[in-house]
């Protein structure tokens, strides 16, 4: 069977999806900073859907919630209670709730585009969005730290934790600097980006393989394999829904943790 696949691959060619998946052709303003391609459109659609959902849900918010308001409040409460208040405590949670909520819902919405038919690609599977969000998170946690402790004490508590002997400073300071100020935003970016890229590639792989097995290979022998890849594609679609929400949760949770760590001198 493998031989058949390879043979077929030699002929008409089964192309495994690659990095070019994430760089579709420009639709507007090609070559400028305003270039719009399919993935940008997917982002716009998801942002519009997100706004539409919350505007419809909360347009006439009632004391006793009904219908969509219930759903919206359930999600908002999830971020408020299980991320913001759990990590930051009630006081700080209220200050940082807007940014944390924005992180969570923007990432969830753009991630979910990866499993929505016709959109079929996550808005976060291109580095721009994860990077912008990670930079915002970086600015916010440093702002929180400097505001809470002052610039000097904040840098000192991060770079040279209390109890570390001074002669260790040449080693500790660079390590702490890199880990706090460079690796944190980098890890936030790459964790989200890599998850969404990998998810998209796996789905494309399974569904294009299914198409190949059923249609292009032209061999009845390969049809059962097509059923298998179709099933796997479906299973991974479900898995991607989980990953979409999970990655949004992880990103937001880590942002909250960084804000909390920055706000307190000893950690």
């Amino acid at each position: 069977m493998l031989a058949a696949v390879l043979a077929a691959g030699d002929g008409e060619g089964f192309h495994a999806p690659g990095i070019e998946e994430f760089y579709p052709g420009a639709l507007l303003f090609e070559g400028t900073i305003f270039e719009i391609n399919r993935i940008m459109l997917v982002r716009f659609v998801m942002v519009a859907l997100l706004a539409l959902f919350f505007i419809l849900a909360l347009r006439r918010a009632k004391l006793v919630p009904r219908g969509l308001q219930n759903v919206a409040e359930y999600f908002l409460d999830f971020v408020r209670l299980h991320i913001a208040e759990e990590i930051l405590g009630k006081g700080a949670a209220r200050r940082f709730l807007p940014i944390l909520t924005t992180f969570f819902f923007m990432i969830t919405a753009l991630n979910l585009a990866g499993v929505i038919p016709l959109l079929n690609i996550a808005g976060t599977s291109l580095i721009g969005t994860p990077l912008v969000l990670a930079i915002v998170a970086w600015i916010v946690f440093n702002y929180a730290g400097i505001k809470a402790q002052g610039f000097g004490p904040y840098m000192k508590s991060n770079l040279l934790p209390s109890g570390v002997p001074l002669y260790m400073a040449p080693i500790i300071v660079p390590v702490e600097f890199v880990s706090t100020f460079i690796l944190r935003p980098f890890a936030l970016t790459v964790r989200l980006l890599a998850n969404m890229m990998a998810g998209h590639l796996i789905l494309v792989l399974f569904f294009s393989a299914t198409n190949f097995m059923f249609v292009e290979a032209g061999s009845a022998l390969l049809a059962p394999v097509g059923v298998l890849t179709l099933g796997a594609g479906f299973a991974f679609t479900l898995f991607e829904i989980l990953v979409a929400v999970l990655q949004a949760y992880i990103f937001t949770l880590l942002a909250a943790v960084y804000i909390d760590l920055a706000s307190h001198a000893e950690h």
């Binding site: 270039e35 719009i36 716009f44 706004a51 918010a61 009632k62 291109l126 969005t129 969000l133 890229m197």
Partner: protein, 177 residues
């Protein structure tokens, strides 16, 4: 589409990617910061207020009910005490009235008895006087008839009669007492 073999580094963002990501972020941020969260917070606050207000009102109502109950029980106790007092008073008054009536009745009966006694005494005295007069006259009549003549000596006659009557008195008096 990019030409095959031209592999862009997925970690190096194209300018438009950053630009549109920032635009999307600002839009979503404004959505939550200016619209969603204020409404959500307002609803939550209203709800908290409502619940806390409801609890406070329930506590107040309970307190009032408790006070009313205490007041009512106090009134009830007072009324019971009042009733008992009235009953005691009435009983005491009744006793007094009975006592008074009894005293009055005794007095009355004593008075009636005394009156009867006096009347009896008076009648007896009258009867004795009448009898004495009658007896004297009859005795004198009888004696004059027996003797056949009037006694000349007035003094002797009166002395005889008086003596006779005194003897009669001394015989009848012990019997009457």
């Amino acid at each position: 589409m990019l030409a095959a073999g031209d592999n862009p580094n997925p970690l190096l963002p194209p300018g438009y990617d950053i630009f549109w990501s920032a635009v999307c972020f600002v839009l979503v941020g404004l959505l939550f910061w200016k619209f969603v969260l204020p409404i959500f917070q307002r609803v939550l606050d209203e709800r908290t207020d409502k619940i806390e207000g409801g609890i406070a009102r329930a506590e107040k109502a309970q307190q009032e009910a408790k006070e009313t109950l205490e007041q009512y029980q106090a009134q009830l106790a007072e009324a019971r005490a009042e009733a008992a007092r009235i009953r005691d008073d009435a009983r005491a008054e009744g006793d007094q009235i009975i006592e008074e009536m009894r005293a009055r009745a005794q007095e009355e009966s004593a008075r009636i008895v005394a009156q009867g006694q006096a009347q009896l005494d008076a009648q007896r005295a009258q009867i004795v006087a009448e009898l004495r007069a009658d007896l004297g006259r009859m005795s004198i009549d009888l004696a004059s008839r027996v003797i056949g003549e009037s006694l000349e000596d007035e003094a002797r006659r009166r002395g005889t009669v008086d003596r006779f009557l005194d003897e009669l008195d001394s015989v009848s008096a012990p019997a009457s007492k």
